[in-house]
């Protein structure tokens, strides 16, 4: 350890050989590190914020259903005859964090046109507590819990069947007993999802009205939708199916994963570019000192000693740069936590539509603890790679002589 202490001191002193160069290397690495930490936090918070906004609007984090309700191979397909009740849920705490829905594909007839739509019966009060769907009603109003047979249509859908707020529309579908279900509903509001596809495919009514239309027993329903979007893990229910949002809307799940992966990829490219620059500078630094390495070797320093001292030198520099980088990253992350970034900056002012819904574009950045060790590890790994070639050159330099 005594010898190692001297090695440390010797390597540390070498950093002051050309202070400006050392400073530039430290700053470039620390800015790279800081940017990566900030970027990962931004990407993570951005995708979380977007997902939170998306999931709380309508989809929910996960659906609890009858195990055979969703098709195991393609969860876009479902079987409306497979229902469940609260009796089936052993963990009653799940009931408070979720809302019941009854869902049925139906035809909606306006004055001149009839089109298919997915009609969802909602627990109006609970839905208003848990989701932000009611905020998407821009014309008319949201459903009233005490009323019956009210319907909210997507704006585009309403245009296509030429229905307006206050109009009556006829609903035709299939009840759970196999009979034809039909009734008249009053349009009370129009949903605006920013022009997304959901405006053409969704309609909502009171839960009781949907149950009545489908001849569904009062305690039965199709889905319990949880909006507990911060939950890290899904509940495990033996007798029921639990489907996460990315299984139900796989195309969005893939996009989100792609964005996360591409962010890491971009970070690795940044580190690679910085490392190549660093490798070049290290090589120049080492070559400049070749005569000195010779002298050290002549007076008794073994090649191993010289190599280790150079490695320590780079690691001291790297550690200082990483520490500074983490501080930069944390400061930038904290700043943008209090000054949310408007994602429309990146879309040229156009709205962000995801899964047929418009997303609130403000992103508050939250610092994720894991990036504060993952990024340093990645940089240390690249630093090690960076050193290989310059060190090999030092080790294999020409035979020492006076």
């Amino acid at each position: 350890m005594k010898g190692f202490g001297y090695l440390l001191k010797f390597s540390y002193r070498n950093l002051f050989r050309v202070p400006k160069r050392t400073l530039i290397m430290i700053l470039s690495l620390s800015f790279g590190c800081g940017f990566i930490v900030w970027d990962l936090n931004f990407a993570n918070s951005g995708s979380k914020e977007i997902m939170k906004s998306f999931l709380t609007q309508y989809a929910g984090l996960y659906h609890i259903t009858h195990p055979d309700y969703y098709d195991a191979k393609n969860k876009k397909h479902f079987n409306p005859f497979k229902t469940m009740s609260d009796e089936d849920i052993a963990d009653k705490s799940l009931i408070t964090k979720s809302t019941k829905r009854a869902v049925a594909p139906v035809f909606v007839s306006g004055e001149k046109k009839t089109l298919g739509v997915l009609l969802t019966g909602l627990e109006v009060l609970k839905e208003k507590q848990l989701s932000t769907l009611y905020k998407a009603v821009t014309v008319g109003r949201f459903l009233e819990p005490q009323n019956q047979r009210e319907i909210i249509l997507g704006k585009k859908f309403a245009e296509r069947i030429e229905a307006k707020v206050g109009d009556e529309v006829a609903i035709v579908g299939q009840a759970l007993d196999g009979s034809v279900a039909n009734d008249l509903y009053t349009v009370v509001g129009l949903l605006d999802f920013g022009g997304g596809d959901l405006e053409e495919s969704l309609a909502f009514t009171q839960f009781n009205s949907a149950q009545e239309l489908l001849s569904m027993p009062s305690e039965r329903y199709h889905q319990r939708v949880s909006f507990d979007v911060e939950a890290e893990e899904l509940p495990v229910l033996k007798n029921l199916g639990v489907s996460k949002w990315d299984e139900l809307i796989p195309e969005i799940g893939v996009s989100v994963r792609f964005i996360d992966d591409i962010t890491w990829f971009a970070c690795i490219i940044i580190v690679l570019v910085v490392s190549m620059g660093l490798s070049n500078t290290l090589m120049i630094t080492f070559f400049e000192r070749e005569q000195e390495f010779n002298c050290l070797n002549i007076i008794g320093a073994k090649t191993k000693w010289i190599t280790i001292s150079l490695m320590i030198e780079v690691f001291i520099m790297g550690t200082v740069a990483i520490l500074l980088g983490l501080i930069f990253g944390l400061l930038a992350t904290t700043y943008f936590h209090y000054h949310a970034i408007n994602l429309e900056l990146f879309t040229g002012g156009k709205p962000i539509i995801m899964g047929g819904m418009t997303i609130v574009p403000l992103v508050k950045i939250y610092a994720q603890a894991r990036y504060f060790w993952q990024v340093p590890l990645m940089i240390y790994a690249f630093l090690s790679l960076t050193m290989i070639y310059p060190l090999v050159r030092v080790i294999r330099r020409s035979q020492n002589a006076i």
Binding site: R13, R17, C295, I299, G300, I402
Partner: protein, 229 residues
């Protein structure tokens, strides 16, 4: 402890036809307390002989021994350790580490040897005192004159009390007054502490002050002279 070069040849081969003798049938015995100069023009082979004694290059043929131990059979790392244990070096261009103070430069080989902190302090202070720089230990090389830097280099070489000090043209970069001071310093260290010096030079002014002079020509010892000094 004796250093011996027996029938040592060093041949540099640049092509099949082009072979150059860096050292040709060199026989030298170096004893404790010797003060020996290798003299000759540039390219005569002085530095090659110093490199051979130091074990920095391996002879093409012949034997190089220290205390009966064959240095040529040692590995590169063993030869480095051997230099650290038994030799000190003084270079023409001083070769001080710019990031270390004079004191720390002298300390460097002692740290490599693993001496205790107390012993290092005693030895560095002693060595700097011997070269007259005890009050300049905290200066960096760039804050010292050429002569002072060479003195630090000498202090570094003697601090470990090596059995042999090799110096390559130690006065070549110095003015005549400083060169004379350096050679007097060598002589004093040799006289007072029985330190063994082997150095190369082509400075005629210094040669007369040296006890044993080996004249080198084309890699060979062309003449050996003993001065009464």
């Amino acid at each position: 402890m004796q250093f011996e070069l027996n029938h040592v040849n060093k041949i540099y081969v640049s092509s099949e036809e082009n072979k150059v003798f860096g050292a040709k049938d060199v026989n030298i015995n170096i004893h404790e307390g010797d003060f020996l100069a290798l003299v000759g023009p540039s390219g005569s082979g002085k530095t090659t002989i110093l490199n051979l004694i130091a074990g920095l290059i391996i002879p093409t043929s012949g034997h190089l021994k220290h205390g009966g131990k064959d240095i040529t059979s040692m590995s590169l790392e063993e030869r480095t350790q051997h230099r650290l244990d038994y030799m000190g070096f003084v270079f023409q261009d001083y070769q001080l580490l710019p990031i270390l103070t004079a004191w720390e430069n002298v300390e460097f080989p002692l740290q490599l040897k693993g001496f205790s902190k107390k012993e290092i302090h005693e030895r560095v202070d002693w060595a700097l005192a011997q070269v007259g720089l005890e009050k300049m230990g905290n200066r960096f090389p760039k804050q010292l004159s050429g002569g002072q830097q060479q003195r630090v280099s000498i202090a570094r070489a003697i601090a470990g009390r090596p059995q042999l000090i090799l110096a390559d043209e130690p006065t070549a970069n110095l003015d005549s007054k400083t060169a004379q001071e350096i050679i007097e310093l060598f002589l004093r260290l040799n006289r007072e502490f029985k330190l063994t010096f082997v150095f190369s030079t082509h400075d005629q002014r210094l040669i007369d002050q040296v006890r044993t002079v080996l004249y080198i020509k084309d890699g060979q010892i062309s003449e050996a002279r003993k001065n009464n000094v």
